[in-house]
Symmetry: C2
Subunit: 150 residues, 2 copies
């Protein structure tokens, strides 16, 4: 355990977040996401498990230390529902609320079609797999910049 | 880079600090310390380098996230000067100042004879080697507990 750092940020997750640079993507997959298979194609190369944690809980912990990329339109993405393209289920709305609370001019979650989401995930820096049981708890977050004043 | 985390805390160092538990020791060695050789006998198994950083700078960064053990007398140790057992040189006084600033009832640096320091270092969780050029920039810090309220 560490002072001033969310306890959900494990040693592996802190290592990954600190290693990421501007524009690198972190993927949060729900309990049904093919996290292990996809993570093997990422830079980090293996899945980071946070088995008993919800999507919004881990997003909130990540955003306590990671700024989002404000140079791009796709800083935050959500897997689009296959049979309801425009619906934003509670599992994703909770993430939007966490993003809104994390910074000024927070980005809106961009809908990403399921297989396009898998493609983005394979190109990511790393994949976290949560214990989220609700479907579509699948989120992409692109890292921004920390300036010289912190 | 991460928000709200001292930039001197590298990915490796954050990983090590988050992995350590109550009573585990972290050793800070100066530029002449046999860090690589000793680190191979520690739990972490390899030295963590912070080449351009002074002893007090890295101690301050570590103590921004790591509490000291308040169950023991030897929570903080310094390598004793071989020819001046009672002298506390500036390189060690700066560390004491950083410890004093980090928490209430901060411990005093306990003098540890040179070879006893090497012995403690080999039993540590990990060894960091700094770029500190002043001799005796060698410090041991034992990790404390973070309670359920942070």
């Amino acid at each position: 355990m560490l002072k001033n750092i969310d306890p959900l940020l494990s040693a592996d997750l802190l290592f990954a977040l600190r290693s990421m640079g501007h524009g690198d993507d972190i993927i949060i997959g729900d309990a049904n996401f093919p996290g292990d298979a996809i993570a093997r194609e990422t830079t980090f190369g293996r899945v980071i498990r946070t088995d008993c944690v919800s999507t919004a809980e881990i997003v909130k912990a990540i955003l306590s230390v990671m700024p989002l990329d404000n140079f791009v339109e796709d800083a935050a993405g959500r897997m689009q529902l296959v049979h309801a393209a425009d619906e934003i289920p509670p599992v994703q709305q909770e993430v939007q609320d966490a993003i809104d609370a994390s910074e000024k001019d927070a980005p809106k979650l961009l809908a990403i079609e399921r297989f396009a989401f898998y493609k983005r995930a394979k190109q990511a820096y790393c994949v976290i797999q949560t214990g989220e049981r609700r479907p579509y708890g699948c989120i992409a977050l692109r890292k921004g910049v920390v300036g010289p004043d912190g």
